[in-house]
Each structure stands twice: as structure tokens, then as C-alpha cells.
Amino acid sequence: MDDIVGDKNAKFKELYNQDGVFLRQAGEMYTPMFGCTGSLYLWEHISDAESKPEVPSRFLEWRPQDFVELKTALDEGSEEWTLIESVKKRCRTSSGNMVKDFLNSIGNLNVCFSNIKSLRCSKHDVLTTFYDGSCELLASFVFPTSESREHFLGTIQAFVRLQPTRRDKSLFIVYDAASPGFKDLEKSFAALDLKTDSSFWSLLKNIKSNPYEKSMEAFAKVTGYVYNSVDDEEHYMAQDDLQRSISEIGDDASAYAVYDIPNCLPMRVDYPRCNPLTREQWRAQLNGEGQLEDVESIKTLIFRGGISPDIRRVVWKFLLGYYPWDSTEKERHALDISKMESYYKIKMQWTTFSKEQEDNFSDFSQRKSLIEKDVNRTDRVLDFYAGENNYNIFSLNNILLTYLLYNFDLGYVQGMSYLLSPIYMLLRCEVEAFWCFVGFMKQVMSNFDYDQNAMKEQLKSMYLLVNFIDPQLSKYFEDHECANMYFCFRWLLVWYKRELQQDEVARLWEVLWTGYPCKNFHLLIGVAILEHERDALMGDNNGFTEILKFINELTGKLDINLMINHAEGIYHQIKDADHLTDAVRNILGIPVAEASGLQSKPEDDRSPRKGVSEPDEIEFEKSIYSNFLSSSTGRLVFLFRP
């Protein structure tokens, strides 16, 4: 203590004291003490008039109790394991006397707290490592229990804030009161949820009994590293690959399963569906100008229960952007006229084509013929569209041809007629149906892109969501060559239109059009269906063919209100999950602040890391990773100290 304090008269208050703390690693001069157990103290200087300015306000002190050689496998649980390797060899050769002599000459290990710029503590174990901000390790301790470490972290949070880094959730930047933006960091460490289970000690015990397999354990370390560095999206695949490669090594290797944090979802909460928005509720929201007073509460009511059929015709025009939500009665009247005019202007463009013109415009005539073929087989079983020379079919044809001219780059793609059919059937007016269809298409246009990338992306997202909610089911898909989720293609392309009756489609779509409770809620509807049918999907060793058949045959059998209800429950489970990943958060557009648990800040977030005197986080992380990663090849390399 004297060395660091430099003033024998200074008075110190003990903030923290814990026995049985292993010293894993520290500066070179402390090498003989590595692997020793001792007591960890946190001291705070009580300043008075005589205090010298050079006395540090706080520092960590570690006093060795006795010399305990750590077994070879102690390296479990940290990215620094490779460095430890060489240290341990030295440790084994040192004798008890040497340590004693050393202690007499050097004294205790002291770390000035203001030198600590970052610390690493993962959820997996109780190892805690302190860095000085230039990727130099100050000290690395193994706490005896997760509670004792939590207590320690709780103590230091009285005067510093810990901010997880973006790429490595177990690495925390330490901001003290001198750091700019210190006050902005409200996040308490309790919210970071660094609970650990006792797996570290049981793991350690396992390793001791199987020293022969030590090299195998190294693979598990690589695993841990891979997990922390790959994208969340790839995480699951990487995990599977690793699991597979390990299982191929032999039966004995089962003891070396890939360790991961057991991720538990919060309990599913039931969000009962409500009654549909009524005409009275709608009217009550209109002021003297015919303007909606509280749009958000109207949308909430629609999300919670849909819309009564008698008011649907009006409300859909708002939901689909035909009328702006804040429009007045007068403005809407003007819009009716201008929209009618512009519709007929566009329509006139193709109605005035001569036969010759059409023949010379094959891009148009081919699409025209495709539209004609498709409308003639769209919902013909419904009375509204049934029979020969049905005027409504004629109208569908007109609207789609006008849309073709309105958006010729996209053109007409199969599936669009199914998106139009319920809209026209409700509005029964070409002009209104056209503009509402335009509004709907704005939301789903990418489904029809030539490259189909948006569809593939959604299928991928669907897999990630299933994986998050029901890993067993996603594993089944993976094992049965179904991970591409192509059997959900029809669901997503036309928003379940082909699986539902017309009134059910109307209910689902109006709920989805509110945009509540999150982005891509239509994917969660699919997840709810898959989860609901999980036993049937996984029964009889079903493969892709059987699953596709099963899904296709769900048509007409879905209880869509129940599925909306489940999907909402799933949404809240995901949002509140401690292990929510960035990939899943991005799919649903969940903002960071809304979610709980351990997480990083989004790119655009203002944070004190931009302060001049702060360690540049990215550079800092890079410098740490460079110890393990060969940046040119991206391959893992292990550096041993000479």
C-alpha cells in the first residue's frame, strides 16, 4: 500500500473486502504470485487538509494469503487463456519459498483505480480482468463466487459507470466522474444483469478430472471466441457447426459440448383481443373540423380488436394512406376529387392505346395478358367475383392495368391480384381501391422485386425469430433441410391472403397496417402459427416435403385471432428477453431503450465515448482483438509469450 500511496499518514476507508480471490494475471513483476489466492480490497482515500495531491483517491489492493497452484485448466472462461498458458508454466516451477521471498521484497499488488479504463467480466464465469486502456492488462482476478463479484461491481458503480462495448458484450468501458458525459450514463450495473451460474466451478472440476482432454477444451475456448465475435445471425449456424464438429470427434467428446448461457424467455403473457373499433368510438374522435383528435389511441384500438365492418370502409382509407390521419373533412373532400382526376388520367394512358400500339409494346401487352389471366382466377369462389362477365373482375383488371402504368418498373407480378381483391371488395370503387392498393403496395413492394432478395431476407428473419422463440423447432428445421423456410413463402408474399377467408384477411391486414406493436409483425404471425403447429411439424420425422404439404394444407384451418394474440405475446417475450440479440432487435425494430438486459448502444446514439480524453472504444477493442486475430486472414492465431 505504501508504494502506491507514497504518504504514510494518508488515511483510507475500506470500500470492499473479499477473501479467496485468485490472482490470475498481472504485471510481469507479480508473476510468482499468479495462481495464488488472496484478499481483494478496495480502498478510498479520506482526504483532509494535509492530503498530498498525488495520493490516489481509490485503489485496488490484493494481498496474497497462501500459494495455491492453479491447475492447468484454470484458463477456462476468458479470452486471455493463451497468454496464461506461458504464465502457468512459470508458476509451476516456482517454489513456496520463492513466493515468500518475493512477497517480502515486492509487497502487495496495488492498482490505482483511476488507471482502470476498461474491464472484462463475462456472464460465463467469475473471472474479471482490468485493462489500462492501451490494451495492457493491469490485473486479472477470479472471484470465489458470482455474488462476491456482483458485490464488487456494485461497489465500484458508486463512483464509475460501466458501458458495454458494442462488439464484445463482456468488455466494459469504465467511465469515471472526470469522463465527459459521465452523467449521461444512467445504466446501472444491476441492469446489465451479470448473473452467473455456478457452471464455472463445476466446469473446473470436470477439467481437473480429465486433464488428458485439455486440448479439446481449447476448442471450447475457440468456440467462446467465435461466439463473441460473429454476427448474431451467424451465431446459431456457427454453434451448430461447432457442435457437429465436436460430436464427430467421438463419443468421449460429448463431455465437451459447446457451452452457452442457458437463455430463458420471459413468461408468455396473454394479451386478450378486444372488441373491434366501433362507429361510435371513431366518431367520438372527430373534432368539429372532422379531424381525428387522437390518432394513436385509434390505431391502438384497431390493433387490439380490428375494425367493425360497418366503419371499415372509411378507416381503411386512413390506414392505407388515401387520407392523411390529420386531414379535415374539407381536405378529404378535396382529396377525393384530386385522386379521382389523377386516377383517370393514368387509366386513360392505357385505355387509349390502339391495337397497333399495343402490338408494338410487348412489355405492356405481355403483362396485360398476365393480369387478365390472373384476375380471372382470383377469388372466383366468392360470390362477389363469381360468374362469367363479372363486372368486379373487370374492375380488378382495370385497377391492375392502371397500376402497371403507374409503376411500370415493378410491373405486374403474380400475387398482386390477391392483395387487391379484399380492398376492392370492401371499397367497391375503382378510384379508392386503386389508391388504397398503391398504399398497400408501398409496404410490400419489395416482396415482388425481381431478385426476390426481400423475400429471402424475410424467410431468414423468420428462421431467426423461430430460433429465438423455439430453438428446438429451428434445430429440427436445420436438421431436416428446412432452414430455408421456403414453406412460408406464400404466407409472406401475400400476407396470409391465401390461407384465410376474406373477412379473416380483412381483420389481419387492418391489424398489421397499424404498424403496431413493432416492425415486421407479420413475421411474428408466422412464428405463432409454426409454434402452434410445432408438434405436428416435428412429428413423423417430417422433411421439407411433408412440412410444405402440411403448411399448404393449413389453408382454411387457421384461427387468425388466436394467432394475432399469440404473436403479440411472442413480441413481448422477445422484447423483454435478457438475451435479445441485435439481429432479432433489428428485425422487429425494437429500440435499445425499450429492451431490457445486457445490450449495446446503436450506432447513432450519443455517448460519452466520443469524448477526447476517453479511450477510443473501437481502436481499443481492435487492439485487444489483434492479440488473437490475424487481421489479414481472419484466422485465429494464438500468441504465446516467450
Binding site: D374, R377, R380, V413, Q414, Q452, Y486, F489, R490, K549
Partner: protein, 208 residues
């Protein structure tokens, strides 16, 4: 070889939108025709048991979306196909023109072991309709240019030639599968062949 084993033949039907893929499949499997089939989105299939040369085989007939842009998802459906049925509408010349691209795209995506010998069958559908735009001769010429693909003129609506066409499809698919199996079982087949060729002189000819 393995004649008692249950055989599954996977057949893929491809062709432009509205040429009658779904109708042909339903006419063959269910002997039904409807004017009200919906446009196929994604893919679906039907199965039918057929007897070919005293062997009962199950045909799994895959119906796919006819718009070109949905082909990029085809790879999931084409995998393991034993035969590919190309369909065009004899009254719509554009559907005939697209045949080359359907065939090429299938070969790319399904990546069969021997693309040159992979069995295709061509169906000119809607022969009940007038006016005809593609003559039988023109269709047959195309077939000749593609390693003699069998050609059938069908009407899914009338049920004309559908049964015959699918029987040919099944035979081609079965032949393809046997050939593939032979390739996989090259070694045991060679032994069988040499035993058969050896004249039986009453003595055990095998010295090992």
C-alpha cells in the same frame, strides 16, 4: 435390383404462367378440371401411385409458380428431381419461346449428375382451344434439337392425352432413377453382370 423397394419418383412441372400446370397435375391425379384454379404461389405437389412394368411407384408431382422471378427459389423444390415436365400453351407463342430458358434454368438449379441425359418431357397443352399458334411440327423440331425429348399434345380440360403423357413421364423418371442408382451401386452391379455372363458349367467357377 431392389424391385420390392418402394420407389418415389419426383417430377417437376415447369412453364409460363397460365399454361395449365396445375390443371394438368389435377387432371392426372384427381381426374378433375376446374376453371378456378388459383395462381400457384410458392410450390405444391400431389402424389399418385402408378404401376409401371408390374412395379408400383409413387409419383410426386410438383407444381410451381410460372412467373420467372420466382424461379430463384426453385432450387429448394427442384432438388432430387427424376424428371422435368415442360409445358407450353399451344395458343400462346410466348409460352413456347420461354421453353429454352425454363429448361436451362432447371438444369442450373437442379444440377443433375448428367445434364445431357436428364429426362425432360414436353407437353403442348390447351389443344382444345383455337386458334393454334404453335404447330406440332414446330414443337417436335424443338424436341429433336434437345436430345429427342418426348412430346405430347394435351388438353387438361378434356383430359386428352394426359394419362399417356404422365405414363411416359413416369417411365422416363424411373429409368433416370435406375440409372442414378446404378451409378451409385456400380460395384455390386458389375459383379452381377459378370456372374450372368459366365456360362454355368456345373462347377463352382469362382476360385475365391
Amino acid at each position: 435390383m431392389a424391385s420390392n423397394k418402394k420407389v418415389l419418383l419426383k417430377v417437376i412441372i415447369l412453364g409460363d404462367s397460365s399454361v395449365g400446370k396445375t390443371s394438368l397435375m389435377n387432371q392426372y391425379v384427381n381426374r378433375k378440371f376446374s376453371n378456378q384454379y388459383k395462381a400457384t404461389i410458392g410450390a405444391d405437389f400431389l402424389t399418385k401411385e402408378v404401376t409401371i412394368d408390374d412395379r408400383t411407384v409413387t409419383m410426386q408431382i410438383w407444381d410451381t409458380a410460372g412467373q420467372e422471378r420466382f424461379q430463384s427459389l426453385g432450387v429448394a423444390f427442384y432438388r432430387g428431381a427424376d424428371c422435368c415436365v415442360l409445358v407450353f400453351d399451344v395458343t400462346a407463342p410466348n409460352t413456347f419461346k420461354s421453353l429454352d430458358s425454363w429448361r436451362d434454368e432447371f438444369l442450373i438449379q437442379a444440377a443433375p449428375r448428367e445434364p445431357d441425359n436428364f429426362p425432360f418431357v414436353l407437353l403442348g397443352n390447351k389443344v382444345d382451344l383455337e386458334p393454334r399458334a404453335i404447330s406440332a411440327k414446330r414443337a417436335q423440331q424443338w424436341c429433336q434439337s434437345k436430345n429427342s425429348i418426348p412430346y405430347f399434345e394435351t388438353s387438361a380440360k378434356e383430359g386428352l392425352n394426359v394419362e399417356q403423357a404422365f405414363l411416359a413421364i413416369a417411365k422416363n423418371a424411373l429409368a433416370q432413377q435406375n440409372q442414378t442408382v446404378d451409378l451409385y451401386n456400380e460395384f455390386p452391379d458389375q459383379i452381377k453382370l459378370s456372374n450372368a455372363q459366365r456360362p454355368n458349367n456345373g462347377a463352382d467357377a469362382c476360385g475365391c
